[in-house]
């Protein structure tokens, strides 16, 4: 078999039926093989490699499968870097295939040659340069194994273009996932049983290990307050009485009250990021900390836990539940904060949609105001904070779930970064709803300049005169104004039956 066919066969063997990518000289032989196999592996092309990577990321986050993205050498591969880093920071399983110049031209600064393995070393879980066609099959299969086991993450495979055209046998090698190490829950169970007011904080690890059901049972048994990190949104139903809100930036009053009265803080699948730590230090001076995470290196990295368990959240919770005593703790009441018309309308009309967000104030508000009842229904760039992520992630999620509604919440600043992806949504007839919360400014920048720089605002206005409704039409999408509650709801009602992307421009002064 030719290298290109071997690679496609590896994708098929890994259960991949959807890939994202952008062709270029370095991967043309691979594209020829993809063309031959287009019935088995569907290829989607965005307008730019970065968004191919975000789309693969959105596909992976919404399904739990490993996302696949392909790009050519040089600029094709460097354009991926933000997308790879974004997946790395949020532990999203992804396999990235890049073409490179042929083996004999490597290291000679050839046209479109970049040492992408060197460039991406700090933002991948692992990466490879394939130096012979004999190594290709094992490398690609190992890449899938690494991306999807343990703490998940992106793995890059750089393939010099001549390898695609060389031949060798397809062996049918199987990459075996390593067996997880044993863990002991007795210390943790004891700490929980001794605790009077436990507080559970769940993160992306719970979603990644499909542990939402176990988390629900665990929380109900020990009657704990629950908060989520942005990455954990959906790990616990936001309409449940145990649920307090999100921790991180600007937690609500009820969350802070529950935090300060707890005597045991149980972090599950979280990494105690500095945004969370701000509150942990302030509100938890005396509470004990129990840390459960799959990554040994997270234990003690940002916080010293009095006890910890290194293991998959689902497996750990399964063994913990029978070991902990049932409790009844009086729960802190939370007041339902008033919601912005955009979010109340979305909650009412599109409660079961998959939401994606960009980055900024709209993201914080979407985190706090959107009801999310199930995992993988709220996709946001948590670690890297990538403006431009949302629309492409929505494209990935909509491709994964043609029958679900997918809605991207954007600010105008973020939309200006990725608005060309509207063309991709139109091309594939993806009925994504793009909500632009258009306040004409980078609201988070303005907040920070006001708070930390004595209101000395600079470059916080976007100042573009773009008519987003007309632009939507120009892309072949449907554009609506949603600047009032009435017009917004009307646009949302129209979108129910649309088979095309719908862009709603909500000109608001504040959210």
């Amino acid at each position: 078999m030719h290298g290109a066919d071997i690679l496609v066969q590896c994708l098929i063997d890994a259960g991949v039926n959807t890939v994202f990518g952008y062709p270029g000289t370095g991967v043309l032989s691979l594209y020829d093989a993809l063309r031959r196999n287009k019935k088995r592996v569907k290829h989607y092309m965005c307008t730019h490699e970065q968004y191919c990577a975000h789309a693969a990321d959105g596909y992976a986050r919404s399904t739990g499968k490993t996302g696949v993205v392909i790009a050519t050498s040089g600029p094709g591969s460097t354009n991926l870097v933000t997308g790879i880093a974004n997946a790395y920071m949020d532990s999203v399983p992804m396999v990235i295939i890049t073409g490179n110049v042929s083996l004999d031209m490597l290291g000679r600064d050839s046209f479109q040659e970049i040492d992408i393995a060197g460039v991406t070393m700090p933002v991948t879980k692992h990466n490879y340069i394939v130096k012979s066609v004999d190594a290709l099959e094992k490398t690609v299969k190992d890449a899938f194994r690494i991306a999807s086991s343990g703490r998940k993450g992106p793995v890059l495979v750089d393939v010099p273009r001549n390898i695609f055209d060389e031949k060798c046998e397809y062996t049918g090698y199987e990459a075996v996932k390593p067996k997880a190490a044993d863990f002991d829950v007795s210390c943790a169970a004891e700490a929980i049983n001794e605790s009077k007011r436990p507080f559970v904080c769940a993160g992306g690890g719970v979603i990644s290990s499909e542990a939402a059901g176990e988390l629900f049972d665990f929380v109900n048994k020990i009657s704990a307050h629950v908060a989520l990190t942005a990455m954990g949104k959906g790990a616990f139903p936001s309409n449940d009485i145990h649920f307090m809100g999100l921790v991180g930036l600007n937690p609500n009053e009820a969350t802070l009250e529950a935090l300060s009265s707890c005597d045991l803080f149980i972090g599950i699948g979280i990494r105690f990021s500095e945004r969370l730590m701000l509150n942990v230090k302030k509100y938890l001076p005396y509470a004990k900390i129990l840390h459960i995470d799959i990554d040994r290196a997270e234990i003690g990295k940002n916080i010293d836990a009095c006890s910890y368990i290194v293991g998959d959240a689902r497996e750990v919770l399964k063994s913990l539940i029978p070991r902990v005593n049932a409790k009844t703790v009086e729960l802190t009441q939370k007041n339902n904060a008033k919601k912005h018309y955009i979010f109340s309308a979305l909650n009412e009309m599109y409660g079961s949609a998959v939401y994606t967000t960009e980055v900024g104030v709209h993201q914080m508000e979407a985190c706090n105001q959107l009801e999310t009842l199930k995992p993988r229904m709220f996709l946001t760039s948590g670690g890297l904070g990538t403006m431009g992520f949302g629309l492409a992630a929505a494209i990935g999620a909509q491709i994964a779930y043609p029958d679900k509604r997918v809605i991207n919440i954007a600010g105008d600043g973020s939309y200006n970064m990725n608005l060309h992806e509207t063309a991709t949504a139109v091309k594939y007839s993806l009925p994504i709803i793009q909500v632009i919360i258009n306040d004409g400014k980078l609201a988070m920048i303005e907040q920070m300049q006001d708070a930390r720089y004595g209101r000395r605002r600079f470059e916080s206005k976007t100042n573009v005169k773009t008519d987003y409704v007309a632009l939507a039409k120009a892309f072949g999408a449907k554009g609506f104004d949603g600047s009032t509650e009435k017009s917004f709801r009307k646009a949302l009602a129209y979108a129910k039956t649309s088979r095309l992307p719908v862009v709603i421009d909500c000109r608001v002064t504040t959210i």
Binding site: G118, M121, I129, A297, G300
Partner: protein, 160 residues
């Protein structure tokens, strides 16, 4: 701050050294020295990493290293349970008058003269850090023209 020595067994692939040194640089750990060489198994290399830190950093470095796909095994080599050696090449200024005194002193340290010129002698010396530092101190009197150090390599002592 304490000095620690880690033995790290890694796949003998291209790029592994960059992965490990990059990890130290990215996470802000201070490497004092890093040596690497093949083991009896040509597929596996052994790195000996000397760094300064505390117990917490040590634990963090070990866990971070274990996450690197090419790393097979990591363990700390404690001073009392390991043999640590480093090789120095030292070029000392030597004249007709001082040469014999320098060679005599070097003999005490079991340093071997490996090159002689009218104006200098190059010594090869191995040992642990204290011995090598002492040798340098002595040779300073005569003028050290150049030094090259391999960095520490270390191995655990046999079972007693």
């Amino acid at each position: 701050m304490k000095k620690y020595i880690l033995s790290v067994f890694v796949n003998n692939h291209f790029g592994v050294l960059t992965r490990i040194s990059g990890l130290f640089a990215r996470r802000g750990y201070n490497i004092k020295s890093l040596t690497v060489g093949e083991t009896q198994d040509a597929e596996i290399s052994r790195m000996t990493i000397e760094f300064f830190g505390d117990e917490k950093t040590l634990a963090q470095i070990q866990s971070q290293l274990m996450k690197v796909e090419d790393v097979k095994e990591v363990f700390e080599l404690e001073a009392c349970r390991s043999v640590r050696r480093e090789l120095y090449l030292v070029k000392v200024a030597a004249t007709d008058e001082s040469r014999s005194a320098i060679v005599q002193l070097a003999d005490i340290f079991r340093a071997k003269a490996v090159d002689v010129s009218p104006k200098s002698i190059v010594f090869e010396i191995t040992g642990d850090e204290e011995k090598l530092e002492a040798f340098l101190m002595i040779m300073k009197e005569y003028g050290i023209l150049d030094t090259a150090r391999t960095g520490i390599t270390a191995i655990s002592r046999g079972e007693r």
